[in-house]
């Protein structure tokens, strides 16, 4: 079989779409989860502290912690995971500070996003990049 110039172009375009598609899907899922959490409020940067390692050797247990003074709820998203939601916290009246830590799984090198809903309804956002040596999705 001979490839014409047109065939080659179509195949190239198809390959490009196939390569970028999953990334696009993950990004959309992150957007959806953010929008759901924000409930129509505008999301502004800053006001939340997210602590994550710069390099995680093992994607199966990556320690993350969030500190959001004045927040009532916090949502952590991993933008590069097949399912972006990691954990959501709701702080009650007996919380000593709006801070929490946990350990999560990361599929690969990616940005982690922390969203915090303040008592007045505004939504703050911050992100951190984590380089993952071995992914934690067991693929």
């Amino acid at each position: 079989m001979q490839f014409t110039r047109r065939d080659t172009l179509v195949m190239g375009a198809g390959a490009a779409v196939a390569t970028f598609m999953p990334l696009q899907v993950f990004a959309d899922a992150t957007e959806d989860a953010s929008a759901e959490f924000a409930m129509g409020e505008a999301i502004t940067d800053g006001g939340v502290e997210l602590t994550a390692p710069e390099i995680a050797e093992n994607g199966n247990t990556v320690p993350i912690s969030v500190n959001a003074p004045g927040a009532v709820a916090v949502l952590i998203l991993a933008t590069g995971n097949p399912a972006p939601k990691v954990i959501g916290f709701n702080f009650g009246p007996r919380a000593g500070g709006q801070t929490a830590s946990t350990r999560c799984r990361l599929a690969g090198t990616q940005d982690i996003v922390a969203l915090a809903k303040m008592a007045d309804g505004s939504v703050k956002r911050t992100s951190a990049t984590v380089k993952v040596t071995i992914g934690g999705c067991g693929g």
Binding site: A83, V86, A95, T102, R103, R105
Partner: protein, 109 residues
């Protein structure tokens, strides 16, 4: 039901009224994310702890909605601040409907 689920909680024995202190919780659980496949290519069904909450004398301290991206043996650390002596109760809810609880007493002063 997941086997050998054992909650472990670390709470200080005493606290100063109104001052924040740390609480650490760990529960042994495999946290099967539902994204993995076994050697035959079949998806392993999701089996995780999806909800955690901590209360003090009936008042909420923190609630957490856990997803498949939380590591095996989920560890959660947070802060509480109390005015009087009492009991912390910790509740974990499993996907299979079971509930694991633990409680710790604390004195103020």
């Amino acid at each position: 039901m997941a086997d050998n689920v054992k909650p472990r909680v670390r709470v200080p024995r005493s606290a100063v009224a109104g001052e924040a202190f740390e609480i650490k919780t760990l529960i042994s659980h495999k946290m099967e994310s539902g994204a993995r496949k076994d050697s035959d290519g079949n998806t392993i069904p999701r089996s995780i702890i999806h909800h955690f909450s901590c209360d003090f004398n009936g008042e909420n301290v923190i609630q957490a909605a856990l997803e498949g991206a939380i590591s095996t043996n989920p560890y959660i650390q947070f802060e509480a601040s109390i005015e009087e002596s009492g009991t912390f109760t910790f509740t974990w809810q499993d996907d299979d409907g079971s509930e694991y609880t633990d409680s710790k007493d604390i004195t103020v002063g």
